[in-house]
């Protein structure tokens, strides 16, 4: 069947089998491998993407069900070389270790802050309660999201490190 959706602001049209799950469509058809795929049973949340701004577990949504909708993946968080404050917060507060849960955590954080710009730590914990960090770095994930809440437009340092800077660092 024919599907058409907006992914990170870009229109995409593809021919797919109806049984293709959104997570596989994003990773295999669109080659956007920032969205991770873990438990496959809607328990871990590493596959979370935003559908019309709302976090959903993409292993439990058909690509066909996303037809006509707008999807944001982790690749869509940064604006050019300017990081989303959530991404910057994960750098500032060491919100990731192996990074496996990170894309889902960051998208849930983005949706939370869009809805509630000044969440209490307990509200942050509640928002990410459907997601598992295999490295158990929850305390730093909460602090990273708090950092983003305190710096809603990022900071002067919010620019992503360019390759050149990385070489000189």
């Amino acid at each position: 069947m024919h599907i058409n959706m907006t992914i990170n602001g870009t229109d995409v049209t593809r021919e797919i089998e109806p049984r293709v799950l959104l997570v596989h469509f994003i990773r295999d058809d669109l080659r956007l491998t920032g969205t991770h795929w873990g438990c496959d049973t809607s328990n871990c949340g590493t596959c979370v993407v935003l559908m019309d701004g709302q976090p959903v577990k993409s292993c439990t949504v058909l690509a066909a069900m996303a037809d006509g909708h707008s999807i944001t993946t982790v690749e869509g968080l940064a604006n050019g070389t300017t990081l989303d404050p959530v991404q910057q917060g994960f750098m500032e507060e060491h919100g990731l270790q192996c990074g496996f849960c990170t894309p889902g955590m960051m998208l849930t954080a983005r949706a939370l802050l869009d809805h509630n710009p000044h969440p209490e730590p307990l509200e942050i914990r509640e928002a990410i309660s459907g997601q598992i960090c295999r490295c158990t770095g929850y305390a730093t994930i909460v602090r990273s999201i708090q950092w983003a809440a305190e710096h809603p437009v990022g900071t002067a340092e919010t620019a992503a490190t360019t390759e050149e800077e990385a070489v000189h660092a």
Binding site: R19, S42, K57, T60
Partner: protein, 295 residues
């Protein structure tokens, strides 16, 4: 990698269209609402529909409205909408209590009340809530609409009165003056299904005596309410002794199975303890709302 068996997909544009599609594609067609029960079953190949009829565009079934003495909940209302509704919290705190512990916030963004009730999983929380609130299910099919009490709607584990060519349209919950309710669940970890849960609804008369009560249990092998409790509580002023007796009756009425969530005696203990807690909370809330204090 879990991938469903092949099927054809079609999106319904209205309730009538969904009913026509169910009729046209017959026995091997299924509707998908939030998909958070059906898609996992299809991924495990426990369900293999030939046709999947997506009803997510039926915004006409996504509503909460107070109509006289009834709260009307459209079948496509998401868990998140129920959790965030102030009207629901004020009128039926049992729904808010339950929604806080149904799955996790992200699953709640997709799952619907209609899908929950039609799935009728024995550990599913809203069936108990609807039994306790004496809700009515509105089911529509080619022959028109029928209204079913929860006792008629909910036939047992994974079984409801909704026929293959019918849709659950709406859930109607009666609003009673002087009444309140509560739900409490024990789970192994956040987002998990219940080890056991209990719900209660009570109505207090102007003298503070119990004029109506209902208690229901989740995941312990009792599909209908614990009717034994009514005879003991109705007409009485709430006391700890009565709650203790109600808890004892609930633990006797249930029929739990031992599984990885716990042995039988532990689940009976939970049925007892949770029944006492929800009755206590529902009575306290009903008394507080009678004196116009919100809690």
């Amino acid at each position: 990698m879990q991938i469903p068996a092949p099927f054809d997909y079609v999106r319904a544009s209205s309730v009538d269209n969904a009913l026509a599609l169910l009729d046209r594609h017959g026995a091997e067609s299924r509707v998908v609402a939030g998909g958070h029960s059906l898609l996992p079953m299809m991924k495990l190949r426990l369900a293999r529909p030939d046709w999947l009829i997506d009803i997510n565009d039926l915004f006409e079934l996504d509503y909460l409205l107070i109509d006289g003495q009834t709260l009307r909940i459209g079948a496509m209302t998401r868990h998140t909408t129920l959790l965030e509704s102030d009207d629901v919290q004020r009128l039926f705190p049992i729904i808010t209590d339950a929604e806080r512990v149904i799955a996790d916030p992200i699953v709640r963004n997709r799952g619907t009340i209609g899908g929950s009730l039609c799935q009728a999983d024995p550990a599913e929380d809203l069936s108990t809530v609807c039994h306790v609130l004496e809700a009515v299910a509105v089911v529509r099919g080619p022959a028109g609409e029928r209204m079913l009490s929860m006792a008629d709607f909910h036939r047992g584990p994974y079984e409801t009165a909704v026929a293959q060519n019918e849709l659950l349209i709406e859930v109607r919950v009666p609003i009673r003056a002087g009444s309140s309710s509560a739900y409490e669940k024990v789970e192994r970890r956040v987002g998990d299904w219940a080890v056991a849960a209990a719900g209660a609804s009570v109505t207090l008369d102007s003298a503070g005596a119990i004029s109506q009560v209902a208690v229901g249990l989740t995941a312990v092998g009792l599909e209908q309410n614990v009717t034994e409790v009514e005879a003991v509580l109705v007409g009485q002023t709430p006391t700890e002794e009565l709650f203790t007796e109600a808890g004892r009756l609930a633990s006797l009425a249930c029929d739990p199975l031992a599984d990885q969530r716990g042995p039988i005696d532990y689940k009976r203990h939970l049925a007892d303890e949770l029944t006492r807690r929800v009755l206590r909370a529902a009575c306290r809330r009903a008394a507080a709302s009678a004196s116009e204090i919100t809690i």
